[in-house]
């Protein structure tokens, strides 16, 4: 088996996880910027984080022969502070030329507030001005449906944004259809409790097709599993899906989306 982990927060994982992922067939890992579990106190804290994502972490992954890519932003959980967000947004452009940067992400909403929406629109504008791809985080649990609709409205309101260059992540059964109908890519996140389990992910693949869909573990410092993607491939195999179909979903699809940025290459 071969697969791409298109969404993993590796800075919060131990090195053994890299080894396990390589052994399971991982060929590349992509790391969107996210919340550290606490609010950073300044833009300088984000500057240091962006250095970690673009310098240190790729070197740690390279020790296992694993290409590491990243996406940059201030995450929605810290977007209530619009002054801090403006300072962080001003820092991001100087990192966009780093060789492992794929775009702006994971941006989106958390509690669907006015300030979060304002910062989301500023990120969308930043991505458009710098011709960057976008990776979107959708809110949790009861906030997901509303947040997904607000995010899609904000993206579609900007004529510079091409939906096929945007992935809206963490879709579930109540949001996947509208995301695909609008022309975006959809990311299915595999978590032990919240978001989606491997059987539900395969259900969605069977019902909605796998044309513009990827799977990811979004592994971080919470309850999550860096091997969730290959475990879902096993679930597909149990149901009788062909090796070609599995390969398309867990390997070829993420490559098809990510290769829209020529920096993304897999050996």
């Amino acid at each position: 088996m071969r697969y791409i982990e298109p969404h993993g927060h590796m800075v919060s994982r131990v090195t053994d996880d890299y080894e396990a992922m390589i052994l399971a067939g991982c060929r590349a890992v992509c790391e969107p910027a996210f919340w550290a579990g606490y609010d950073r106190s300044s833009a300088q804290g984000f500057y240091d984080y962006f250095c970690q994502l673009t310098d240190y972490e790729p070197k740690r992954a390279a020790k296992f022969g694993l290409p590491h890519f990243t996406w940059l932003c201030i995450n929605p959980k810290e977007s209530e502070d619009t002054k801090l967000a403006a300072e962080v947004l001003a820092v991001i452009p100087e990192f966009l030329d780093r060789p492992n940067v794929l775009g702006i992400g994971e941006i989106g909403l958390n509690k669907n507030t006015r300030n979060e929406l304002q910062v989301l629109e500023q990120h969308i504008d930043l991505a458009a001005r710098h011709e960057q791809m976008i990776l979107v985080h959708t809110p949790h649990l009861e906030d997901k449906f509303k947040g997904t609709r607000l995010i899609m409205d904000a993206l579609l309101a900007d004529s510079r944004i091409q939906p096929e260059r945007v992935i809206i992540d963490h879709v579930e059964e109540h949001t996947i259809q509208m995301v695909l109908d609008a022309g975006f890519w959809a990311g299915i996140t595999l978590y032990p409790e919240s978001k989606t389990t491997p059987p539900r992910a395969v259900d969605m693949f069977e019902v909605y097709g796998g044309q513009r869909v990827w799977l990811n573990s979004a592994c971080d410092w919470g309850r999550s599993d860096p091997l969730a993607v290959p475990k879902t491939a096993v679930e597909m195999r149990k149901r009788g899906h062909s090796a070609e179909k599995i390969d398309q979903l867990v390997f070829q699809n993420p490559i098809r989306f990510l290769s829209q940025n020529p920096r993304f290459t897999v050996r």
């Binding site: 958390n110 669907n112 006015r114 300030n115 929406l117 949790h140 009861e142 449906f145 607000l150 059964e173």
Partner: protein, 80 residues
């Protein structure tokens, strides 16, 4: 067997709630309403359960009450 196990877990959870003291918050009513979606006779149950627990409104809120989600939208309880 997997679904059977999860079904009994839910039954045991509801028993545990009944044995507990104090008033449950709005999420228990939301949970019971979501259970009713399982009786649908079309393959839309997962979507319907998720929707029954979701905020269906479209207006951004003024200020975040916190960072986390709680699992159900309190507005459903407020409107009944």
């Amino acid at each position: 067997m997997d679904a059977r196990s999860k079904l009994i877990d839910i039954a045991a959870f509801l028993d545990r709630v009944d044995r507990g003291e104090g008033e449950p918050d709005f999420r228990l009513d939301a949970f019971r309403s979501a259970l009713a979606e399982l009786q649908l006779e079309e393959p839309v149950r997962a979507r319907s359960v998720l929707m029954s627990l979701s905020d269906p409104t479209l207006e951004p809120i003024a200020k975040a009450p916190g960072k986390g989600a709680v699992g159900a939208w309190p507005g459903h309880a407020a409107s009944t």
